[in-house]
Symmetry: C2
Subunit: 440 residues, 2 copies
């Protein structure tokens, strides 16, 4: 019977067998301490017997062992107990020194990231790295909990598409049995169609962008938390996204505070109610930024990265919120897509909000044009051809009845990046993909 | 305030407002009954007033409405109540008749499937179709519950890969910034590498196969439930997969019996313990089939589809199990991949089992070769080059210590297909993809 590392304190004075990897070795004269890692954590083993010490000679971190020994209470040890008088069985010897040290925090300095990613399968054995990705898994669980609680159905939409109907040059294309296919840049059309079915849907799915530049913010493959819901207005949509952010931040801290502390990050400041997350127009941000810095972006249609950082700092200090909804997007320029909805009371403005969190945009949210004749007109006006096969099914959903609806797409890795205050979205990705990296 | 369809019986004799789609219309002389569909179900509305009837004239199924009226108890109605004396507000009119009738079961006969898939966005509004895909969502939830209960960590592995390291011609390739990339045919290498990190991992992820034939069993994009775990032996691995199947079958029936009954399907017969799922070798199946039918496949290395159906029927009758593990796979022919493990006590035989369920294979499970020198030798023997970049990270995981481990990949859509006794895996896919279909 195997005992897990976290359970050994339940077996004080008993003999147990543990199985795992040698995670750390310390030789102190005649005393050998080794730490064994299994899926539940670490356990410390004191090896004194010469025969047993001999078995370990020349073996490196990563060696897989089974250890049978007696459990002693020891408050200095991980788990409050350690194993003495062990019999060591080497299951898989490792004789080469690993390319990356896994028993201390691994550098995430930008100049070390390529090494980190090149050695991912080994570096992830570090407990801090594990904790980061367990938290990412937790975030996915919390997102699912939130959506189910609010009666969303989880869907799976195809990532192989007939054409890049949403436009955009940054698509990957491939040969599909003699036809051309593209990889999905978003689940946009599919999640909207599914509003006609389930009313409220979400997906955590892969998204592909042939992003031709190497930045800290872009990857060519990443996960998007997509949501779309019917019978909703612009305010309610912001509340729902705000509630999701509050739920994820609060619950992940509730359940994983130790991990965040290990990573030296603070809990994001957010108001108690999503209704109190500031909703500020682009023009207002330009004005506020100009007043504070005398730098004038007031003629620009979008916010600048430095303004995004500034407004989040401002909101943190003045509104107790590191999140800000940026509204007031033009319905007359190229940021307005054909499926977006203009404000009926002010047709120059889109019913769109970007959610900034800790200085960067993590989501775009918008109401969609749900009336078939208007949608077709907007598509044509922007140069689209409604008779193109890629639009047929999408438009049919509207022809046969779509309610007022809206939704958002939230980058999972970017959200995790901000929860941990990382500097690069790839640090929150097991095996990142960008213009320079397709392996491991 | 909007009331959902399922809640109206809580408001007998009160006035409520519901919002949804007209799902059905019946005109009985002066009496008009309409059924309104929202995310929670149906509610029946009796429209008598001439002005209100007039508002509905010419409007088709799919029209989006808000209806305010008084709730009357009525046991014949869905939900035990209906709405009388309504005021109708047409939110979005639909004036064309939908291309597919959604208020009665939609034909799944093979000759009607293309029509079904062509009209997916509308056909899915049918309540039986919705129930099927809600059950698929439930299956995903149950799979996650099972794995979490057993301390698996959910991972997300890349689908854009540097090369088709697993071999196989049926890969999609694409241009990746001037290099060639392929779409993942499996998560095999990644989930194995992650065993070195989390010990137990799973993923529900997209899988791509450039399958050049149109069959009822193959798609070019589908979802795989992948699992991989360390410190496990061949028997335990079969127990774990068997337990997963038992959990999914039992719990989905517990929670969704109504849906299965609507689809006229029976609960799959399975033993109480996964240990009692029969484990039969290929040779034994050939022998049993020969004795029963006098048809002789005893010289063949694999089972035939008719044998797979036969052995599942046999096990159902004789062992109370519609699932069978097929063992006794050769370690000497091309079914043996370089990462498979041969039985140390009988090196001609692979530690591999296929799980048959209701007559078809739904999973292949195997122990993996975990010792670095043997793995490299097997790779070379099968013509692979360990120095190829695509193998580097994978092999490094073994060089720096991998425990005995194994895993399986289970097609989600195929599992749902068998739970519903469907004839075609595409019926269990929202937007199926095959050689002839890339839209909608």
């Amino acid at each position: 019977m195997r005992t897990l590392a976290r359970d050994i304190a339940k077996h004080i004075d008993q003999s147990v067998t543990i199985q795992g990897w040698i995670h750390k070795k310390r030789l102190l004269g005649g005393l050998n301490f080794i730490n064994i890692r299994d899926r539940s954590g670490l356990v410390q083993v004191l090896v004194e017997d010469k025969t047993e010490v001999e078995k370990l000679r020349g073996l490196q971190i990563g060696t897989v062992v089974a250890i049978t020994g007696k459990v002693y209470k020891d408050d200095r040890s991980p788990g409050g107990a350690e194993i003495h008088e062990p019999t060591v069985e080497v299951l898989v010897p490792v004789t080469d020194e690993p390319p990356i040290e896994i028993d201390k925090p691994i550098s995430h300095k930008s100049e070390h990231l390529e090494t980190l990613f090149d050695n991912r399968p080994i570096g992830l054995r570090n407990l801090n790295e594990q904790a980061l990705f367990k938290t990412k898994d937790l975030v996915c669980q919390l997102v699912r909990e939130y959506f189910r609680e609010n009666e969303f159905t989880e869907i799976h939409t195809p990532k192989l598409l007939a054409e890049a109907t949403e436009g955009g040059a940054e698509t990957f294309t491939l040969d599909y049995f003699g036809k051309q296919a593209t990889l999905a840049q978003s689940a946009q059309f599919y999640k909207q169609m599914m509003v006609g079915v389930f009313e409220r849907v979400f997906e955590i799915g892969s998204t592909y962008r042939a992003e031709p530049s190497a930045t800290t913010r872009h990857m060519s493959e990443f996960l998007t938390i997509d949501a779309e819901l019917g019978f909703v207005d612009f305010d309610q949509l912001q509340n729902i996204l705000g509630d999701l952010l509050l739920y994820v931040v609060n619950e992940s801290w509730e359940k994983n505070e130790d991990t965040f502390k290990k990573w030296n990050v603070n809990k994001a400041k957010l108001p108690e109610s999503s209704k109190d997350i500031p909703r500020i127009t682009i023009d207002e941000i330009h004005d506020m930024y100009f007043k504070d810095t005398k730098i004038d972006y007031r003629s620009e249609a979008d916010t600048r990265p430095e303004e995004e950082r500034w407004i989040c700092d401002w909101a943190k200090k003045n509104k107790g919120s590191e999140a800000v909804f940026v509204t007031g997007w033009s319905a007359k320029d190229k940021t307005f897509k054909f499926y977006h909805k203009a404000d009926p009371t002010n047709p120059d403005i889109a019913l769109r909000a970007d959610l900034l969190f800790r200085g960067v945009e993590i989501t775009t949210l918008s109401m969609r044009e749900h009336e078939y004749p208007k949608l077709v007109a907007q598509l044509k006006k922007m140069g689209g051809d409604p008779s193109q096969p890629g639009y047929a099914a999408y438009l049919s959903a509207f022809k046969y009845g779509m309610p007022p609806h809206g939704g958002f797409g939230l980058g999972l890795e970017r959200l995790v990046e901000k929860l941990f205050n990382l500097n690069n979205v790839k640090e929150a990705t097991l095996f990142p993909r960008d213009i320079n990296r397709l392996a491991p």
